[in-house]
Symmetry: C2
Subunit: 127 residues, 2 copies
DNA sequence: TATTAATTGATAATGAATATCAATAAGAGC
DNA sequence: GCTCTTATTGATATTCATTATCAATTAATA
């Protein structure tokens, strides 16, 4: 029941700080550079555990693998539909948006996601 | 290059009209009831083709399988995190939202998604 | 009716993520 | 420090949604 402080969990938590919206694969690749023994399953497990306990953010975009984020406050993202990279959207969160919908037909809204989709500058210059 | 009017494509287009935000599996199940010969791959192919040609909507939510929709105008959805069902959100689309972000750091925004996540009334009454 | 290329059906393959389970090791109590 | 309990790990199998493959079929055109 008690959470244990394992080397692997520590590594996942630290690695998130050094990567920009990585997916689980990218976190794994970064970790195995210096710690080849760590299993991919362990990376997935710890990413999810840390996200559940609100120590990191988990961003499930509308396409592709989930991304993780050292930012835990609500904010929105831009997603490049070519490379899949995420960028923080520099607009304020709609604090009152959900109020318009609370208990719509018995549906209880708990949170909302806003995702902007387009092309990042890198991909624009590549074609 | 020319699009052909196959029985299978017709079936997919018609079936979408009778289902509420179905995923590909549900469209397939509905079709095979009366047409057991139709392949699941064909259903996937036609759903994607019709979506590309804007005849139906494709909704890639932040979790689980993609949903399809006979509505093609932009609108938002509520998603139940228990059963995964989608509901139309009865709020107007933010027409000018993307303007705040156009060319943010070279990123060109093409569209945006708003998704409300919560619990539907059916799932609320079940536990 | 013959031609040709879009489409299909059946199935293999992919990618992301979770499940399984025996082996390991963190942390508590002694 | 040593032992015990059980959270955690590593390795791998499995699941799920979807796409790829490819020979066979068939819609549409001439």
């Amino acid at each position: 029941m008690n959470r244990r402080n394992t080397v692997q969990r520590q590594l996942v938590a630290e690695t998130i700080l050094n990567l920009d919206h990585p997916n689980a694969e990218q976190v794994y690749e970064e970790i195995v550079k210096n710690h080849p023994h760590v299993s991919k399953a362990t990376v997935y497990r710890n990413l999810n555990l840390l996200a559940e306990q609100q120590e990191i953010g988990k961003i499930e975009t509308s396409e592709g693998a989930a991304r993780f984020d050292f930012r835990t406050q609500p904010h929105y993202h831009l997603r490049c539909r070519k490379c899949g990279r995420l960028f923080d959207a520099e607009i304020p969160v709609f604090e009152h948006l959900e109020e318009n919908l609370r208990n719509t037909g018995g549906f209880t809204v708990e949170k909302h996601i806003v995702e902007f989709i387009g092309i990042c500058s890198d991909c624009k210059n590549k074609n």
